[in-house]
Subunit: 373 residues, 3 copies
């Protein structure tokens, strides 16, 4: 794959593991390339260019037979490496080969490395081990997928500034004034990993149904982790008030909370795949932990499909130039998102101009309020 | 706003006054620009660019709160001048301003001046005072809106040659042979105002239901007034036969008739807004005046949406070059429309090349049958 | 008409004769040109540019009155030669003429010659005389039409390699292994006519319902005839086993069989008209001939609309460059289709560069398995 828009030597989410169950031949476009994804004879994930070498038929229109893809047009069969293993009307033609991609299965996700396969190091995949707790006692995980007709970086921006929950998610997650009235914004910059966090001490917990205070205070936090290019994880915590006050400026992912994945993969210029998940909320404060799996699935689906998606698509439709050319107003809460955006741009530049041409980008000239991290 | 397609320093219809009732945040694109239209605290109309200064969210997705627009994304609020008056997560940022436009409310219409606001002179708005008679005793006015996927000048052309009523409107307004058999075409050219009229003496009135003659003759006229760029008014009259014969070549708008507005505003290249209205037919000849308000609304809607709109959109889809490059056949009845088209082109040229470069346009070379005005 | 994509001095199918019954004004785009097709006063087919000379209205929106087309906009009337014969509001304008095309009716099809009408020689139309047997005793013909959003040459390729019937048509015509297990592929190249045939000796006939062998053997053949640019005819035969063994390498269209037309006409770049027909299967082997007319219509419709069309449209959507630039794998069964493709490209080149510039095309360099014809 080649592109001036995307980082190539890195891991992107390609499909949830469950999408390949039941012998599926999954058609999915990533970074502008149409792929067919399936499990081979040994159950390992495979991704091929979705195009038969003979007559350009999409292989995803065919059948998966014992881990081999059979083209629906003239019956040519390919294994997981893209090699033709059967041609019904004569010997297997030597040139009948379809391009294949490096893929790895980890934490319930099929990951793809679109760049040089020799550089594909699976230890670089960010940690989402909570995904493996779906079958654990007293826990559950929901997995979801939403297609968004917007540049993938708008989805990253959205998630890196969760203050929008007070307005856009007023009927699902937010609108309770926790961020507005108590929020302290924090950015922790670790290079290709950036944390964009809110610490909200001494909030008054409210009843999830009536939204009335229940007479209990808590220290609340929203910790968003971004790993380049576009793999994110959120931890939502409610702590007994004052008990962990020393953690205001320290990592908190050893504390109980609800983890959720937000894995964004460019589909094409102007659209992206949004893979999201969430486990059972944990903690011993007020009602936390009382949400059941179906309620969890529903509230996330509402938030991401009914609230975020139309807004991101409207923003994308409202942009007629590049992000910086549109001259957005950069506010203090945008620091995490802006840093991620610039880091990603720098990585793409370095990948495409490896000789280290360090020209100052126009981005460096945009005025930005400094972070409080 | 800047454009090579449109006259900017002039008034266009933006919305009917009633479209802003009930606290509406109206999204409307004019001349290629997306706007949000609403009433401010004092009830005055306001038009802003439909894009929050922060993250490009369409403001029309938000809420109108006491005459102030609140963005649905992060809660930023703007007043009718486009100034940010509230930001929930910190002080109001100085650069948080949204572009606003000069608008005026007159005769039940919100008018917009897309050019230099210092030149916006509301005395230049053409007269549609009959719109104010909707509540008057023995009168009514219907207001309608139709979106047409065609260049706005095709809609002007259509209205400036009403001979099409005999064919395209055979099942609504026309098809009775009044123009075909009795019509005398007249053009009165007053510069940026052009009248394209039909005088039809001694027609046999027909029953509106049976379409059979009722034994009464009348002098009938259709007087269409165009004001640059695209604001039109039609008067339809039925006079007792012979009584006003001296008015064949004179203005007739002091005589009784039915007035209707035809206000055309470019939405974008290739589409336009068609705001139409009509009051109760007046006069003492035959059945004239017997039409009730709901029948009036229905017949106009049929004529403009079911008859005109598909034809204009089909013509637009049939054009692969500019109007003149398509080499249309110019006939005597086209004189009014062609004059309006040329006048408008001249005004746009003059606005864009104010140094008065008087190059002869290729339009001047098109052969045209002279008018009988 | 002018185009770099199409051969112009040749016959294309424009409409089935039955499409002009009942006074139809048929709108059809061919080779990128919008036409209106109708029968004139004498019942002869006529094809005009679908655009009134006055205001560019599609004439197909109008009415056919005694073999004359009346424009729906202002009532201008045109005869089959494109000459204006009536204008309701004045004398017929001399310049009111619409472009007309050379058309001929033959074998239930209206044929169009888009190039120089002086070269239009109706003796060049390929033979489809079986179409005239629809009313014959013990015979029937079904006529169908399918619009395909794919380059017309992909439809030709599809028909010239019927091995796809074993996979793509497994639930309609094929999937019985006749080609896979018994097929001998033959190409007969007659210049601008190419035959792409399968001879399948000693197949075991199966019951059409149960698909189980019935204990009868037959010699089966599929003979596809292509005439430049894109007019094809298929003969499907089942012969008593061994009786006509001498015909394996000889023409067979004097033998009984089912004939079907496959007439492909470019609509526009990226879409085509597929006119198909079929008569009653003939022969005395097993169940052959038992298919009734409605079953014939149904099975063809399924095969061409439900099976072929989605595949061809998916292939077209999967192509981002020209056919040869996509580097398809050319296999032995593709010989007929590749020869037709090259012949057609050569004819287009010769038509457009008549001085005989015989530059070697890049096509000539593509490696191709030789035919066994």
């Amino acid at each position: 794959m080649q592109s001036e828009l995307y980082l190539l030597n890195c891991w992107y989410g390609l499909a949830w593991s469950t999408e390949l169950d039941d012998g599926a031949l999954l058609a999915r476009k990533v970074l502008g390339n149409s792929l067919v994804v399936f499990r081979d004879k040994e159950g390992r994930p495979a991704a091929l260019r979705d195009r038969c070498s003979h007559r350009m038929a999409p292989l995803s229109m065919g059948k998966l037979k014992d881990g081999v893809v059979e083209c629906a047009y003239h019956g040519m069969q390919y294994d997981g490496s893209g090699r033709c293993v059967h041609y019904p009307f004569g010997p297997v033609p030597a040139r009948a080969v379809v391009e294949h991609y490096a893929v790895v299965e980890r934490d319930k996700m099929i990951w793809i490395w679109p760049g040089n396969p020799e550089l594909a190091d699976s230890s670089l995949i960010p940690d989402y081990h909570f995904h493996n707790n779906d079958d654990a006692e007293d826990d559950w995980v929901v997995f979801g997928y939403t297609n968004v007709k917007a540049d993938y970086r708008l989805e990253i921006d959205n998630l890196m500034d969760l203050s929008h929950a007070e307005y856009l998610h007023a009927t699902s997650f937010g609108g309770r004034g926790f961020i507005t009235n108590h929020g302290r914004y924090q950015v922790r910059d670790l290079g290709n990993e950036i944390h964009s966090n809110w610490w909200m001490p001494a909030i008054d917990l409210v009843h999830p149904g009536t939204r009335q205070p229940i007479g209990v205070q808590a220290d609340h936090f929203l910790d968003m982790r971004w790993n380049a290019p576009s793999n994110m994880r959120l931890q939502v915590g409610f702590l007994p008030q004052g008990v962990h006050a020393d953690r205001e400026d320290a990592p908190r992912d050893d504390l109980p909370g609800q983890f959720s994945a937000h894995i964004i993969t460019p589909e094409d210029e102007g659209s992206c795949h949004y893979f999201w998940s969430a486990d059972r909320p944990k903690g011993s404060v007020g009602f936390v932990g009382g949400m059941d799996k179906e309620m969890g699935r529903k509230i996330f689906k509402v938030a991401f499909e009914i609230e975020d998606k139309p807004m991101l698509e409207a923003v994308a439709a409202n942009m007629h130039k590049g992000f910086w050319e549109e001259k957005p107003l950069i506010l203090p809460n945008d620091v995490g998102g802006i840093r991620a955006r610039r880091r990603l741009a720098k990585l793409i530049r370095e990948e495409q101009e490896p000789a280290g041409a360090e020209a100052v980008s126009s981005e460096a000239l945009i005025q930005m309020t400094p972070s409080i991290s």
